[in-house]
């Protein structure tokens, strides 16, 4: 499946400054694996040593926070937009 991945400012050093790159995979996990092979090192910024999404990163497939869906096993349908966003506080 071909998807687009929105890259936050602090990870754009890996993507040559690109805010959006194309990705591939049936699930979020596969998309992130492919992303890491295209842009080596970016995966370790998003996932911790045990392979889980870092606790201060939010990942969305379309409009849905993947923590509400299947986490890394969330399906990545053809043409979907994946966003990686640092967690922020406020109120």
């Amino acid at each position: 499946m071909s998807v687009s991945v929105r890259i936050p400012t602090i990870l754009r050093t890996y993507t040559g400054g690109n805010a959006e790159v194309s990705g591939e995979g049936a699930t979020l996990r596969e998309v992130l694996q492919k992303l890491d092979s295209d842009y080596p090192g970016i995966g370790a910024r998003i996932l911790d040593e045990s392979g889980k999404i870092r606790r201060f990163v939010n990942v969305y497939v379309g409009q849905e926070d993947v923590r509400f869906a299947e986490g890394l096993d969330t399906a990545a349908p053809e043409g979907s937009e994946i966003s990686i966003i640092p967690a922020v506080a406020g109120g």
Binding site: R6, P8, T9, I10, R12, A19, R45, D48, R54, R55, F56, V57, N58, Y60, Q63, D65, R67, F68, S83, I85, P86, A87, V88, A89, G90, G91
Partner: protein, 409 residues
């Protein structure tokens, strides 16, 4: 550009400790962890603080602001009343109870404290526009502070907020944008805006200025300790939205101890949430150390953050200090607003109903010690959440102007 942040010397990642130069950044490049301000305090004395102005700038030496901050165009919030709540204490069976009433701030919520610090950071970085994602109170605090400081404002809120909060945010000028979505979606929108040329030279007080902004909540800890006669309270009840305020009050208490300004006495921190948005309370009760996000549904809209960024730290602090995290229903929130009003003459917004409601519940279930000195926070004013008390928003009776008619009631 020469920066002047007073005693602040660096930003430091709360997760992994990586240090960065002071700048408009908020997330660690290594691990995405939140960045915090690190200081070189030197010596700070009680008498130096006591000789300062009656607002948060009396604590300038403990904040990331320049030494001449009090002379700048700023809202000068803080030094709100610590009310000895004898009537409420007697009603609940608590021996010594105080209410830190932050509805006395310039725009009537604790948000003026954090925004005041963010304004000085925006000035330092040469930003022209002040912005935020907000559940309401923050939007008003930002537009007011921008007006005073001579900055442009553009703030973002969930479109379904209380009318009073919308009016409060609009009256000061600037742009107010309603987003069709929850606070968490507004927050996400702002995170994307910040990486876009549209948001260039904008200071988002709770995003790229967050490390500075968040420090403002420490002033609640400083004031409470000073107003108690330079002592730490034994128990404190704090509302939880993002969890930032509770985390920073704990940081403030620890700094006072480290600087020798108060004695190192134990204190217990209790967090308060509305049941309709209680991800931190749920995690606490389940014994988890991370927070599963929720979709909020509560009248306590100022606390309706379903994905609280500082939730894990709240869990750590409640457990470390021997406190707890508890939640109350919307009906209990309304009852607590009425209880506080009728015992102490303080009209709290829904967030104050949450803390007083949780205080009552914690005493009743034996979690909170009624013999220990206790402080409960009221962070906003009831006039902004009138809908919550609409059931009593009418006169007891309507009569003709005659004594007979009054006698007949």
């Amino acid at each position: 550009m020469s920066l002047d942040f007073g005693p602040a010397v660096a930003l430091s990642c709360r997760e992994c400790g990586t240090r960065y130069d002071l700048g408009p950044s908020f997330a660690c490049l290594e691990c995405f962890g939140p960045l915090e301000v690190a200081y070189d305090f030197g010596t700070v004395t009680r008498s130096h603080i006591e000789s300062g102005p009656t607002n948060i700038w009396r604590y300038q030496a403990l904040l990331p602001v320049p030494v001449d901050v009090a002379a700048k165009q700023n809202m000068n919030p803080g030094w709100t009343k610590l009310v000895k709540a004898g009537n409420l204490g007697r009603t609940l069976g608590i021996k010594s109870l105080h209410i830190k009433d932050d509805s006395g701030n310039p725009t009537h919520s604790f948000k003026d404290r954090v925004v005041a610090i963010a304004v000085e950071a925006a000035r330092n970085f040469g930003f022209h526009t002040l912005s935020c994602s907000s559940t309401g109170n923050l939007a008003g605090a930002v537009t007011a502070a921008a007006a005073r400081a001579g900055l442009d404002a553009c703030v973002f809120i969930p479109a379904d907020l209380e009318q009073a909060k919308i009016a409060m945010a609009r009256v000061f000028g600037g742009r107010l944008i309603g987003i069709e979505g929850t606070y968490d979606e507004v927050n996400r929108f702002c995170s994307e805006l910040i990486g876009d040329p549209l948001g260039d030279k904008w200071g988002f007080v709770n995003v790229n200025l967050r490390p500075y902004y968040a420090e403002g909540s420490k002033t609640l800890a400083y004031e409470i300790a000073e107003q108690l006669g330079w002592r730490l309270p034994e128990q404190i009840v704090i509302p939880i939205a993002s969890g930032s305020q509770l985390t920073k009050i704990d940081k403030g208490f620890k700094e006072l101890v480290a600087l020798g300004l108060v004695e190192d006495t134990p204190y217990k921190v209790f967090g308060a949430q509305a049941l309709g948005c209680s991800p931190v309370s749920a995690a606490y009760k389940a014994g988890h150390d991370v927070v599963q996000p929720v979709k909020p549904d509560t009248i306590a809209k100022s606390l309706a953050i379903g994905n609280p960024a500082d939730g894990p730290y709240v869990l750590d602090i409640a457990r470390r200090t021997g406190g707890a995290v508890e939640d109350v229903t919307d009906a209990e929130i309304v009852a607590a607003i009425k209880l506080l009003a009728s015992t102490e003459g303080i009209f709290a917004e829904t967030a104050g109903g949450v803390t007083v409601g949780v205080l009552k519940k914690l005493v009743e279930n034996g979690t909170l010690d009624p013999e220990a000195e206790t402080v409960v926070l009221n962070t906003g004013v009831g006039l902004k959440t009138l809908d919550a008390v609409s059931s009593i928003a009418e006169p007891t009776a309507v009569i003709r102007p005659s004594l007979d008619a009054f006698r007949a009631i």
